[in-house]
């Protein structure tokens, strides 16, 4: 038990997220309790509308649960102020969204090193780290290209490199392959797999592709905002 607890990087205790729409109450998450271990590659799966994104947003500090608590790295985070959360996200989390979500005005390299720059790194450090990250996603030679000169899969890899730049404790990805063709999708998933295996990167990924389940360590199944965990 003790061992297990130390290994937990992120845990939730009975978190719920309800939306009030007019006089209707929508419960997107319903008393969810999960543990994600350090170095784990976990997938959140379930039907559309089952609450996958909502769960990821709570864990990634992009939203606040209406009930329950979240513990990251042993610390309860509900006490963090908004700006503390911002810094937390910058230093400890990396995000990959369904849309490529990189800035069209910046080159691949600039997009990647922006979070490092915001941490106060020098230009040289930014470039070195940015190139390293681009290397990891196999786009080092495209560093000067602007997003519009790249394919969707390449843009998504730039987003992944950006997510990795500050060596995050957890990488969050919400349906990162949903907008990609099957070849690019496979590339992205293999990249995640490799990152997890080679560097022990903790990854939490929302997906609705059933075949993705084979690639990950564990699947957290959601239905109607509730967890139905089936360990492999």
């Amino acid at each position: 038990m003790k061992q297990n607890k130390q290994d937990t990087i992120i845990a939730t205790r009975n978190i719920s997220r309800a939306y009030t729409m007019g006089n209707m109450q929508v419960t997107a998450l319903n008393h969810v309790t999960i543990n994600i271990r350090r170095g784990e590659f976990a997938a959140i799966m379930g039907k559309s509308g089952s609450g996958k994104s909502t769960l990821l947003h709570q864990l990634g500090l992009l939203d606040t649960p209406t009930e329950g608590e979240i513990i990251i790295d042993g610390a309860e985070i509900s006490g963090l102020s908004e700006s503390e959360q911002t810094i937390f996200r910058l230093k400890k989390f990396g995000y990959v969204f369904q849309e490529y979500a990189i800035l069209p005005e910046l080159t691949a390299l600039e997009n990647v090193y922006l979070p490092a720059m915001a941490l106060g790194l020098s230009q040289d450090e930014c470039v070195t780290k940015g190139m390293d990250a681009l290397e990891k996603v196999g786009l080092a030679e495209r560093s000067d290209h602007r997003p519009r000169e790249m394919s969707g899969g390449e843009q998504q890899r730039v987003a992944i490199a950006r997510a990795l730049i500050n060596k995050p404790k957890i990488l969050f990805a919400d349906e990162p392959t949903a907008n990609l063709d099957s070849i690019s999708s496979k590339q992205i998933l293999e990249l995640f797999r490799a990152l997890n295996q080679d560097t022990g990167q903790t990854i939490l990924m929302v997906t609705h592709e059933l075949e993705d389940a084979d690639l990950v360590d564990r699947v957290i199944w959601l239905a109607d905002g509730k967890v139905m965990e089936r360990e492999e």
Partner: protein, 403 residues
């Protein structure tokens, strides 16, 4: 905590990239709109300043020159004006003097008559302080020993399309004889030797005869109602005033501004109008800039949400938009000034506006330009601040996925 320099660096980096790598067309349009807002703001001011400047020039060139020396309070005339002139004529910067008599008179021609002010001058001296001798439209200016001849302004003569036709003599031409009744009752007939037009309604209501002539009318010699003094610079009248006093001039010495009551009233009404149009202009410019910046920030709402999601502080994002807005405003001001100097000023120099104080061209005062640029840049900064600040208030999820 990230130090402020890091924040500024990231803000500047983002602003720079958004400007340089963003949509060129949008940037150009934004700058153009800012430039037009600036021109709109500057134009009326420049016209008013141009009117003020034209009026001042007219008052100096055709009415009072730079400095006027008058008799002491309790006296009607300066006695021995030559002695006064001798004291000041060698002061560096003094380039002319004209001692003269000023008197009221009724001038009549056929059925029509009116009361005007007549100056009696030494034509040679008058050349050194006034531009009226160069502004004859028909006939000739006086010469030193002329007797029985008079020079009148266009508004006295009438028939020249002046603004005061209804109180003029109704169309006197050179060679006509007018009857002049002086304030002491003396009545003389004068041949009109010339008619002048200064373009200035005020000086066009003057008449001139020679000193010799008036001295015979008044029966006095070596006196003057005033001495006009021309200096080579404008705006340093006080320095000359002090110097004249030191040189022993005991008469009343006044700068032209004291006589320019008309300028003062005009300037005052201009200032009121100027402030009013300025305020409206600022409001319009502010709203325009606000809309332009607002539209551009609203379209970046998602982008801002994503930046916040990956941990970029709101203040960095907001500041990057303020930087952009300020950049566009600065470019707008520069472009606006270019439009003013390259297009509008040359145009109005070629085709001046005609006003009662004469031809008016645009005058761009440095102070007005600086004030208005600063105002525009500040409005732009606020316009950049508000929408991005508002957008940063909403939740990250709403910013990225909301509608």
């Amino acid at each position: 905590m990230t130090p402020i320099t890091t924040e500024l660096k990231v803000s500047a980096f983002l602003a720079y990239k958004f400007i340089v790598k963003g949509n060129r067309g949008t940037s150009a349009l934004t700058i153009l709109i800012m430039a037009l807002a600036f021109v709109n703001l500057m134009f009326t001011t420049s016209v008013f300043d141009g009117m003020g400047d034209a009026t001042e020039k007219q008052v100096i060139d055709t009415l009072y020159s730079n400095i006027v020396i008058e008799p002491k309070d309790d006296e009607v005339y300066i006695k021995n004006p030559d002695a006064v002139v001798k004291k000041i004529i060698n002061v560096p910067g003094v380039i002319g003097t004209s001692a003269q008599y000023v008197t009221g008179a009724t001038i009549a021609y056929e059925e029509k008559s009116g009361a005007w002010s007549i100056r009696a001058v030494d034509p040679d001296d008058e050349q050194t302080v006034s531009l009226v001798p160069d502004m004859m439209i028909t006939g000739e200016y006086l010469s030193k020993y002329d007797r029985g001849e008079i020079i009148i302004g266009k508004e006295i003569a009438g028939g020249q399309g002046g603004s005061l036709e209804h109180i003029s003599l109704g169309g006197v031409v050179v060679g006509d004889t007018v009857e002049v009744t002086f304030t002491n009752g003396v009545k003389r007939e004068y041949r009109v030797k010339g008619i002048f037009d200064t373009n200035f309604i005020q000086s066009n209501q003057m008449a001139y005869i020679t000193k010799k002539e008036i001295e015979s009318v008044l029966g006095i010699h070596d006196m003057a109602s005033q001495i006009l003094v021309k200096t080579d610079t404008k705006g340093e009248e006080d320095r000359f005033l002090n110097q004249f006093v030191e040189l022993g001039v005991h008469e009343d010495i006044k700068p032209w501004t004291v006589y320019a009551g008309i300028v003062a009233t005009l300037t005052q009404s201009f200032n009121v109008l100027n402030t009013l149009t300025g305020a409206i202009g600022f409001f319009v410019a502010g709203v325009t800039i606000f809309i332009v910046i607002y539209v551009s920030t609203v379209s970046k709402r998602r982008q801002m949400g994503i930046l916040r999601a990956i941990g970029i502080k709101e203040s960095i994002i907001i500041r990057s938009y303020v930087f952009q807005a300020v950049f566009f405003a600065v470019c707008g001001c520069i472009a606006g000034l270019a439009i003013m100097f390259v297009i509008l000023v040359p145009y109005f120099t070629k085709h001046p506006m005609v006003f009662p104080m004469g031809d008016v061209t645009l005058l761009i005062e440095q102070k007005a330009a600086i004030m208005r640029s600063a105002g525009l840049i500040i409005s732009a900064a606020i316009a950049g601040l508000l929408p991005s600040w508002r957008a940063a208030r909403e939740t990250i999820l709403d910013a990225i996925w909301g509608d």
